[in-house]
Point group: C2
Chain length 133, copies 2
DNA sequence: GTATCTGCAAAACATTTGCCCTTTG
DNA sequence: CAAAGGGCAAATGTTTTGCAGATAC
């Protein structure tokens, strides 16, 4: 937890997969992607490395509350929109000025210092809206 | 799931406890509160009833991502501030106009319809800030 | 009476951990 | 080689479920 972790082919591949193939993925899905490449790979090791990557700040864990956690490679700050119809997770940008304004109001009215935010928007995504009408 | 559930003393008490004693509580904690009253109460039944109360819209489930879920009686719309130092969960109000503005922007730029929001703010609460300095 | 609710225990998951071997530096 | 990484399987923690009996309507 203090020293720098050693190199690990498996961990490198996990990060690459999150950075390239797909934006939001569960541990099980990452595991399945790598099984052809590392037939003896264990799911436990995927979890271990995802945790390390989260500690290193290279991956975000999204505890979306629907069973298993979802992971994504760290990118520019953004938030998530989850479609309640199809379940897909979309990234959305929210102007920083609005976020800052909210943090400021919370500090003013309650005295709590906002350091980070965990935000999910739910609703119906563009594709599902189009399909419905 | 379709018809109205029958009356249940246990379920009524679970809701009362969430409405009165404490704002944010896990299933295990609710279970412990009721064990003196219903010595044969089972944790499974607490979960069952919490799920029913969530379905009825009387209770919110907060999947905070740290192990077990937390429940609260439904009140006016509000959000949560979680202190990263002491772990306490605080309710915070955020002006509706700001929330509406964010929803409007997401719809404008992405086309997704925002129906609900799941928002947590993290940081250092008033008490911990005072204690630190 | 019959459908729902309950306690109980087992099952189902997601995630973590211990052990012992392998790899890295 | 010493320390970290990995496979494997068992353990853990949370939540759900099947069943037989109790309860509500």
């Amino acid at each position: 937890m203090t020293g720098k972790p050693r190199a690990s082919k498996q961990r490198d591949r996990i990060l690459e997969i999150l950075q390239s193939n797909r934006i939001h993925a569960g541990a099980q899905w990452v595991y399945e992607q790598l099984r052809s490449e590392y037939p003896h790979l264990s799911l436990g090791n995927v979890y271990r490395n995802l945790n390390i990557l989260v500690d290193l700040g290279k991956v975000n864990r999204l505890p979306l509350g629907s069973g298993s956690d979802v992971y994504e490679a760290v990118k520019d700050p953004h938030y998530h929109f989850i479609c309640d119809r199809c379940g897909e997770i979309f990234d959305v940008e929210i102007p920083e000025e609005l976020q800052a304004e909210i943090g400021r109001r919370i500090q003013e009215t309650e005295g709590h210092l906002v350091v980070s935010r965990s935000v999910e928007y739910h609703g119906i995504c563009r594709e599902c809206r189009r399909r419905d009408q």
